[in-house]
C-alpha cells in the first residue's frame, strides 16, 4: 500500500483526477515514463479521492500476483499429454 509517509510529498503541479485515473493502472504496473510517473504519484499522494483508489488498485495487483502459481495437477496433465503425443510418434520425454 501507499503509506502516509508517501503522502507527505511537497506540493507540486499535478494532474486532475480524470487524467490520474486514466493512468492509474499503468502507474501501478510501472509502465509510465518518469515524467508521468512523477505526476501521477504526486497526484495520488495528495488527492483524497485518488489515494484510496491507488491503494485498492495495488491490493488487486498484489492479490493477483499471489495466485500466479503452478497448477496442482501438473504431473497428471503431463502424463496424459505425453501419452497422446507418443501415440503420434513423439519420442521425447
Amino acid at each position: 500500500m501507499i503509506t502516509d509517509t508517501d503522502r507527505k510529498t511537497p506540493d507540486m503541479p499535478s494532474l486532475d483526477c480524470g487524467a490520474a485515473v486514466r493512468m492509474l493502472w499503468d502507474y501501478l504496473d510501472g509502465n509510465l515514463d518518469s515524467v508521468n510517473e512523477a505526476e501521477v504519484r504526486a497526484h495520488v499522494t495528495r488527492c483524497s479521492h485518488c489515494f484510496p483508489h491507488a491503494n485498492f488498485g495495488q491490493i488487486v495487483i498484489d492479490a493477483m500476483a499471489q495466485v500466479r502459481n503452478t497448477p496442482d495437477n501438473e504431473a497428471t496433465v503431463r502424463a496424459g499429454v505425453l501419452s497422446r503425443l507418443r501415440a503420434e510418434g513423439y519420442e521425447g520425454s
Binding site: M1, C17, G18, V21, R22, L24, W25, H49, C50, P52, H53, N55, F56, G57, I59, V60, I61, D62, A63, M64, Q66, V67, R68, T70, P71, N73, E74, T76, V77, R78, G80, V81, R84, L85, E88, Y90, E91, G92, S93
Partner: protein, 193 residues
C-alpha cells in the same frame, strides 16, 4: 536459447516447457479440471502435428495459447461461452463513476488478508472476454501486444478490457470484504469517485 535441430528435442525444449502455463490458461477457459486436461492434450497434439509450421524464434507460449483458444472455441458453442462485452475506450472507462466504497481501514484489512481464495473466485466469475485478458496479462504476464495477438483483438482493447476487469475484481473483493466482516455493509456509501 539455442534451438535444437532434432524435432523431438525442439518440441520438448520449446513447447512442453510451457505445459504448466498452458494448463492454467486451459483451466481459465474451461473452468473445469477435466475439460482443461482434455484441452491441454488437444493443444499439444495439434502443436505436435503442426510443429513444422512453428516459426522457431517466435514465442512458443503465445502460439500454444492461440492453439488452445482456437481448440476451445471449436469445442464450446459460442453462445454458451460468451457474454457480450462493450469495448469502451480507456478514457470513457476512466471517466465512469466508480464507487470505491472502501475507506482506508478496510483497505488495510484487505491488504493484510489472504485474498487468494477470493481473487480466484473473482477471476472465475469474470465474463470470458475479461477473464482471458486477466489470465494472459496478469497471471501469465504476457506483454499487451502478445496478449492482443493471442486474442485477435487490438492492443487498445486489451488495455480497456483489463481496466474494466480490474474494476470488476475490486467490486468482488469489496463484496468478499463485507461477507468476511472486514468491511461494514454500508461501506460503499463512504467513498466514491
Amino acid at each position: 536459447m539455442e534451438i535444437p535441430v532434432d524435432k523431438h528435442v525442439a518440441f520438448h525444449d520449446l513447447a512442453l516447457r510451457w505445459l504448466p502455463d498452458v494448463t492454467r490458461f486451459a483451466h481459465s477457459l474451461t473452468r473445469n479440471e477435466s475439460d482443461a486436461e482434455d484441452l491441454v492434450q488437444e493443444t499439444y497434439l495439434r502443436a505436435w502435428r503442426h510443429w513444422d509450421s512453428f516459426r522457431v524464434g517466435s514465442e512458443a507460449r503465445a502460439w500454444l495459447f492461440t492453439i488452445a483458444r482456437n481448440a476451445w472455441r471449436k469445442r464450446a458453442p459460442r453462445d454458451a461461452r460468451l457474454v457480450a462485452v462493450e469495448d469502451d475506450t480507456l478514457q470513457a472507462l476512466a471517466d465512469e463513476h466508480f464507487p470505491l466504497g472502501a475507506p482506508n481501514d478496510v483497505l488495510q484489512r484487505l491488504s493484510d488478508a489472504d485474498l487468494r481464495p477470493a481473487i480466484h473466485q473473482a477471476i472465475a466469475a469474470l465474463p470470458e472476454a475479461f477473464r482471458e485478458v486477466v489470465e494472459l496479462v496478469e497471471l501469465q504476464e504476457l506483454p499487451y501486444a502478445e496478449a492482443a495477438a493471442v486474442l485477435e483483438i487490438p492492443v487498445g482493447t486489451v488495455r480497456s478490457r483489463l481496466f474494466r476487469a480490474r474494476r470488476l475484481l475490486q467490486t468482488s473483493l469489496l463484496e468478499y470484504a463485507r461477507d468476511a466482516g472486514l468491511a461494514p455493509v454500508h461501506a460503499e456509501k463512504e467513498s466514491s469517485q
